[in-house]
């Protein structure tokens, strides 16, 4: 039984379509991430789920119940906002308990839940403070506590970590993930940060221009992106793309672009203009020229910049007119201006002509 069900949900503002025919089932207890750039529609979808935006067409169900025309207060969901949305004139305790007080929940129950949330999120010492006396991370936890305390059908997160610095974001990511697993509440999480998406999501929905690009587990998106957008969106550093074409002769197939030649498995490729995609971490780099640089041996490059990051290094190089990036863990690194030979891991090559074509 899906916990949340979107059916043909569309959102239009006047003549502009912001979300187009969105269909999705969120499983019970799942942490589903909606990821995309600005204007992708991810926030609009979340707000429609919360009831803060009206649905132009389509239906939304929560736990089998059609909530499409229900006000937010009747949907039994809880939301964590980007700027936390804490009530500035109330203490942390009052912030946490307001939802329950509004519903006239018994005081003993309110105290119990507040204590429970306070304990899980380490909020006890902060209970009598006002939001402006708290740090960003603390405010974030109070916002989560406020959501938890209501024991809602679903948690909705709207880019909750965007206002935090990088270190705190990494830490909070782990906390949110752990919390969600412990509580088992269905969660829809919106972010523009694909690292957040990849680390948190049980499944990820990649959105662009109001349309779903791909839905899948993180590893599926990483290994088998269905189109160029998803391929370039997921993964850090981002995938390299080279435009060229595929030739096939004498039972051998190859990808050719200026300065680059890569052998391909002959079977599933067709001819024509193709974009080749390869992740920086799927490239092998050897110093120096190859005596004979036939397609199966790799292609040459000229180093432009080397970033030494400790265990891994990023080598920026030019091959012909193409600027590419390889992520390697070589002991010996080339200098700027040196020549290198680059080989691609065959099974990790992606080919696109708008859609992805399969390679093994």
């Amino acid at each position: 039984m899906p916990s949340i069900h979107f059916e043909q949900v569309t959102k239009r503002f006047g003549t502009t379509t912001v979300v187009e025919d969105f269909n999705l089932d969120v499983a019970d207890g799942e942490l589903l991430v909606l990821v995309g750039g600005s204007g992708s529609g991810k926030t609009t979808i979340l707000r429609m789920l919360a009831g803060l935006e009206e649905v132009t067409e389509g239906t939304i169900r929560i736990d089998q119940r059609d909530v499409t025309s229900l006000a937010p207060r009747d949907r039994n969901v809880a939301m964590v906002f980007q700027d936390y949305g804490l009530y500035p004139h109330m203490t942390v305790r009052e912030n946490l308990s307001l939802g329950l007080r509004l519903r006239k929940v018994a005081k003993t129950e309110i105290d119990r839940r507040v204590a429970w949330a306070g304990d899980m999120l380490r909020l006890e010492p902060l209970l009598d403070r006002k939001p402006k006396q708290l740090s960003g991370g603390q405010q974030q936890r109070v916002a989560m506590g406020r959501a938890m305390v209501r024991e809602p059908l679903a948690f909705l997160f709207d880019e909750p970590l965007s206002n935090l610095d990088a270190a705190l974001r990494a830490q909070m990511r782990i906390e949110i993930g752990g919390l969600q697993r412990r509580l088992g509440t269905t969660t829809v999480y919106v972010t523009h940060d694909q690292v957040e998406a990849m680390t948190l999501g049980d499944r990820i929905v990649v959105l662009a221009d109001g349309l779903i690009q791909q839905i899948g587990k993180p590893i599926e998106l990483y290994r088998s992106p269905v189109n160029r957008f998803v391929a370039g969106f997921v993964g850090t550093p981002p995938m390299n793309f080279v435009e060229g074409h595929v030739t096939a002769e004498n039972g051998e197939a190859a990808f050719m672009a200026e300065g680059i030649q890569v052998a391909l498995l002959p079977s599933e490729v067709s001819r024509g203009l193709i974009t080749l995609g390869i992740r920086p971490e799927d490239m092998d780099v050897e110093l120096g020229d190859q005596a004979d640089s036939s397609a199966s041996k790799g292609f040459p490059g000229s180093v432009v910049l080397v970033e030494r990051l400790g265990g891994t290094s990023h080598i920026h190089f030019d091959s012909g007119p193409h600027r590419l990036l390889a992520a390697v863990s070589n002991e010996r690194l080339p200098e700027v201006g040196e020549n290198i030979t680059v080989r691609l891991k065959g099974e990790r090559i992606h080919l696109f002509d708008g859609e992805r074509r399969v390679t093994s």
């Binding site: 803060l52 006000a71 937010p72 906002f81 949305g85 004139h89 509004l102 519903r103």
Partner: protein, 287 residues
């Protein structure tokens, strides 16, 4: 540095002189006048505590003080409720929004004298617009300005009408500062419209409400042109205001010392009332 200091001193010198003549001197002399009797023609005579004693026992003065409190007890709640209601109504994307706002603010820019004269005529028992409308609706006309029980309330309503636009702007500004996420959060948490108002909007507008109360109170104690024009202080002295009494003592009775005493007393009363109000409202917020 020295050139800068010289320029600076030179540039503020006229203002400093002005302050001495029109601020420092009058404040000091006001306190001095309290102990004098003077009609501006003969030499001032020392009067010791006479003025103060007279004031303490002056029925007319205390009547004026009571009148002011009557005025405030009607004006303040009316002002807050109306300004808040209008601000809430305006605080959304509306067609003609600037037209409504301009309409409510119009009486604010019009001279108090004009408004007083206008409403004298509106309230006129026989030929006034208000009674005209009441009669049209089948109700009895009310002698607004000649009945001791309705006169001050009538003035209070009029002053509210005149100034509410100003406070609508103040509340509107305050409403802008309520974060959208707070409004949405409380909706998601299950608040009805009333609950949202009571738990979020009203508490967050506390600074504005304090401002409304303080300014309206000060304004109320400074009431002059309205009673002067509309009722002359009657009927039965029920609309007599403190400043009207001050003016009469100076202009009509030529009693400068006593008038100054009234002025000082007024300043002290205003200061006390405002101080107490802020305390009370602050406490109410904590509840």
């Amino acid at each position: 540095m020295r050139a800068e200091a010289r320029s600076g001193s030179l540039m503020v010198a006229p203002y400093a002189v002005f302050l001495l003549v029109f601020a420092a001197y009058p404040i000091v002399f006001a306190l001095v006048l309290v102990f004098l009797q003077w009609d501006l023609v003969t030499t001032p005579a020392f009067a010791g505590m006479d003025n103060v004693r007279l004031l303490a026992n002056d029925g007319r003065f205390w009547r004026a003080v009571v009148n002011t409190f009557v005025f405030l007890s009607i004006h303040l709640p009316l002002q807050i409720a109306t300004a808040l209601a209008l601000a809430l109504a305006l605080n959304r994307p509306l067609a003609f929004r600037s037209f409504w706002r301009a309409a409510f603010f119009l009486p604010v820019v019009i001279s108090g004298a004009v408004v007083a004269i206008l409403w004298s005529n509106l309230y006129a028992t026989d030929v006034g617009l208000i009674n005209g409308l009441l009669v049209r609706m089948g109700l009895n006309p009310v002698p607004w300005l000649t009945d001791p029980n309705t006169a001050m309330p009538a003035i209070a309503a009029m002053v509210t009408w005149k100034n509410v636009g100003f406070y609508v702007i103040i509340y509107l500004a305050g409403l802008q500062y309520i974060p959208r996420s707070c409004r949405e959060a409380i909706e998601i948490e299950g608040a009805t419209t009333w609950q949202r108002f009571r738990h979020l909007t009203l508490p967050m507008l506390l600074p504005q409400t304090i401002l409304v109360v303080t300014l309206s109170t000060i304004n109320g104690f400074q009431l002059f042109i309205e009673p002067y024009v509309m009722t002359g202080g009657g009927p039965l002295r029920r609309t007599y205001s403190i400043v009207l009494y001050l003016y009469t003592n100076a202009f009509a009775y030529q009693k400068m010392g006593y008038a100054a005493t009234i002025g000082v007393a007024l300043a002290l009363i205003i200061g006390t009332v405002v101080f107490v109000q802020r305390r009370v409202i602050g406490k109410a917020e904590a509840l």
